[in-house]
Symmetry: C3
Subunit: 434 residues, 3 copies
């Protein structure tokens, strides 16, 4: 990985538009934590990135959990006495609570109401609800529509199945010079919701495409998993490989218009935490870096105390902090090409830091070496051009005592990693660093 290659990706035309195309294609699919919608989504990703599809049978014990039955759904509706579908799965797959068991019944509104979910505060939006681990069924609809439903007997139908089958996930491994890995994990279990998490799927996929074409120091492993149970299953299946993970990133909600949020790993001072904070500090967008907390997405599993992996979570507005979260308003209009593109670039720049950080040792630790005779210094003292480049050279030389990494030096010098890295390269070329 080198700066020119990253620049090529950054400048590459149409990446944002391509991510949007991908999301648009995947949007209509009814995904859940298992089932054919998940498989179809992985096939969609595979059009961009080579992907192994893994299938784990229902009932498989994974730590304290069990791989659940596979859920599939064909149709669902609430029909008025005249047969009109007043709520119709074919119009929005959010209408059915995910993992609803099959239902075929006629019932009065009063009875039906216990199974209806709405958002009184947002009367036009359909909420998103799930009941993976407790048998239940339900419909979600707009509060406006609920209020307009006349008292009547309704035909209620959920044509779903909940049967032994498989949990499916996708895995893309890009080998690097080293067997040490950077893990990128994104959840793919939500139905027609765009920011959460088609945006994460798109950014992860295009990160993979970018990295595929570059020399890599680290190996990169991309996981496209159902939330929670997917990462638990992967961790359970790969316990012998987990100690290869050196850095990791969960991508979620990376497409909205809000500022960038990086949630640190549980360790708080892992290299990925420092590298990400550094890159964010030196870019121009608004951002915040927040401490780990045991809620959110799959970082909860990667950062459980037994693993405590150096895995942070990259997002824009944190989940739950925007009203559109887990509602029908998280639609294609809610995500922005530029937002996703910025996250792609940010991730690559952070990986660049991780791949290129090293601890230089000066070959001339006693007094400064004479930069001028090597053409590395202004000829006429007192002129100011090139001063910043010289400062980078001086910082690297001053701290090249074997106890400061390039990232340490960049942070202390309050200069970008790229400037410090370039200075270190120039000094190495002149034999001034080991």
């Amino acid at each position: 990985m080198n700066l020119a290659e990253i620049q090529r990706v950054v400048d590459g035309p149409g990446t944002g538009a391509a991510m949007r195309d991908m999301i648009t294609a995947l949007y209509p699919i009814c995904r859940s934590i298992t089932g054919n919608g998940f498989r179809e989504t992985l096939r969609g990703i595979r059009q961009y990135l080579p992907l192994e599809m893994r299938e784990v049978p229902s009932g498989t014990p994974v730590f304290d959990w069990t791989v659940p039955m596979e859920w599939n759904i064909r149709d669902a509706y609430i029909a008025a006495p005249d047969g009109t579908r007043v709520v119709d799965f074919r119009r929005s797959n959010l209408h059915v609570m995910s993992y609803s068991i099959p239902v075929k019944a006629r019932m009065r509104l009063e009875e039906l109401q216990k199974h209806l979910h709405t958002l009184p505060d947002r009367p036009e939006w359909i909420p998103y609800r799930t009941s993976y681990y407790k048998e239940n069924w339900g419909f979600c609809l707009s509060h406006r529509q609920l209020k307009e439903l006349p008292e009547a007997e309704y035909d209620v139908c959920i044509d779903s199945s909940l049967e032994p089958g498989h949990l499916t996930y996708g895995e893309c491994f890009l080998p690097g010079e080293s067997s040490e890995e950077i893990l990128i994990s994104t959840h793919c279990c939500h139905p027609s919701l765009c920011n959460d998490n088609l945006s994460g799927i798109a950014v992860a996929t295009f990160l993979g495409r970018a990295l595929e074409g570059m020399p890599r120091k680290f190996s990169y492993r991309f996981l496209f998993v159902p939330g929670t149970i997917g990462s638990i299953t992967w961790l359970a299946m790969n316990q012998d490989r987990i100690d290869r993970i050196r850095h990791g990133l969960v991508l979620t909600g990376v497409g909205d218009a809000g500022g960038i949020t990086y949630k640190r790993s549980r360790r708080g001072d892992a290299s990925i935490d420092r590298a990400m904070a550094h890159v964010l500090h030196h870019q121009q967008q608004p951002y915040k870096v927040i401490d780990f907390f045991p809620y959110g997405y799959d970082e909860r599993q990667y950062c459980s105390p037994g693993f405590n992996l150096p895995v942070g979570c990259l997002m824009r507005t944190p989940h739950g902090e925007y009203p559109e979260y887990h509602t029908s308003a998280d639609d294609l209009q809610f995500v922005h090409e530029d937002s996703m593109w910025e996250m792609l670039v940010l991730s690559l720049r952070t990986f660049f830091v991780l791949e290129n950080d090293r601890t230089p040792v000066s070959t001339n630790p006693y007094c400064e070496p004479q930069l001028g005779k090597r053409g590395l210094y202004r000829a006429v003292a007192g002129q100011t051009e090139g001063a910043l480049r010289e400062m980078a050279l001086l910082w690297v030389l001053n701290l090249a005592d074997g106890r400061h990494s390039l990232l340490d030096i960049a942070d202390r010098a309050q200069m970008s990693f790229e400037s410090i890295y370039s200075a270190a390269c120039a000094l190495s070329e002149h034999g001034l660093l080991n």
Copy 2:
């Protein structure tokens, strides 16, 4: 000690009024660091709390100090030529400098003036003065009165005695499951001053009453001592027992209307310091936590470098920072039932933290355990009720790695110790914690 029992004390009617009654009864007594007034005060405390009265003979060496002569006073006055008592000990025991030697003389105002103490800035108030360790005598009076005294010869009488006797202090020991102790120390040597320190005496006494009726993990030791020489004497007499003290609190000036002040132990990061700061942070009253400094009350002795005990000091407005301090204006109107009651509750809540803090270890450190199947989690994801309780469960599980105590977890989660403790109890009941 458990939450319900603390709540019972907190809600118990009349505790504030009972503390006020106690103070009202003790207010008229002329206390000093030795003598019958001190003994009478201990007898007053004994009406509420079982108390051992200890007597240490004058002349006993205690570290660098010596137990002083016992001082008693019967009467004192300054009388005008016509026999009128212009300054009369019977009106206020503050009129006589504590430890004044006997005097029987006639002298002109000019000569007498060297022995008169007033507060020119507060012309209505009588100051409080002592001269324990240098033989001297004096009267304290209001500045207004001094200015009105006509030039004349006055009869001066102090009918006191300063003779070999004893230093007296009170000790109440409440044994707990463990021989490790929490020390509560309060000074009882001031005459008719209410905030300093009848308030401390009352809060310590009612703390003792509350703890007497509860199961206790720690043993609790209450010391009712004369300031400085009393704690020095106790430390000197109990050197072999001092290493049992795990936490301690000096109570002083806990009745005024000002905000709460906690002065950390010399260590600065003792458990009592952290627990008190935590409880203060999660209550609603204004407060400040200040660093240790070697001035104030008996924490000076407990925190001397040879002992360096984890003893903090709990007060409201720090001594010397309110004008009424050490004057006749520190009277019954200056202290408030609610102020004392808050300090009682605060101390109990802090002891609750100290008694119940422990370091949990998760039985399922790899990935989160499945809370849902144990009834510990919302059935329908996406609904928000119970979220705070779930966050407490998740925080405990995530940090239950044997390196974080419940108080550590509460601080990191920014949740109250009580929430985290309750979550830990629930997890333990389900076998999820060791």
Copy 3:
């Protein structure tokens, strides 16, 4: 060194005026990093302070550098066709770029212009330029004058020599009780510039005079060197003595009217850093303490990673942050007697801290010793006079556990080192400290 002696220097009349006299005498000399101007300057310093003059031959290897040829200049000018000197070295030695090689030519303005340096933003000022390590020549002049030069053929003359010779520096060593050294280094290579660095020369010289007359715990070494190559040469010549340096200070730009700036050593927490910050905090002038960065003056060499000496840099406005820097406007009017005098006093106070800091151990660690019986405490409790002195006594006693130095105690007590030191002396006299 004791407080009375420092006070004598502080109060000594005429020190500021004497420093100004010294600067006025040295101002006209054309200094560079080598040559007769440098030698003449050292002879000027020697009128105030005993100084060894060291000569190191051109071509001597010093770490990565080589001692350069010696440069001397006799005359230089640009003359109009009628023979009038339009630019004349005799009017200002800034007119010639330092280390200009000999030139004798006639050229048109267009060709000459490549060798002319001006400050378009400051059209009245002459810039200061050097080209020590690349053979070049040039003239510096005001931008106003450049714009007025008519197109013509000019006679250009630089009557200089660049030949094997010596690098010269001055060294003054004041032995103390210990062979451990405090290093004071100041650069002397700039021509007619006053703040940078005749002010540093003057303050260093008068520091030496003051210390010469005092008993000294440390030995003091003063270096009057050409910038960069001078400190490199000294370090190369004295590698076996470098580990004696316990503290050090580079003095530069100490005469302007701006606030005081102390730039920490690379270590950041060296004793000199803490002592200087402490003394600055307790004086009345505006100041700032900034972190080390590898640019500036000879601290760059002393703080290179192989040496990493505890050497800070004391200045007023940092170089480059005032427009007069390295221009003809840095003249005799730009420096102030008071500014230099403050730096002298500040340095002495800091050396006082370094010489007198020690770690006291209480002889009475269990409870406070009784100060009253030793006459160290107020007789009548409740009176406030002497309270600050008592606080200093109590702080020293409380922290005299062998783990806190007097400076630690002063910082924690937020009292001046002098108060804490005086308290420690009083306690030692009474046998209360070891």
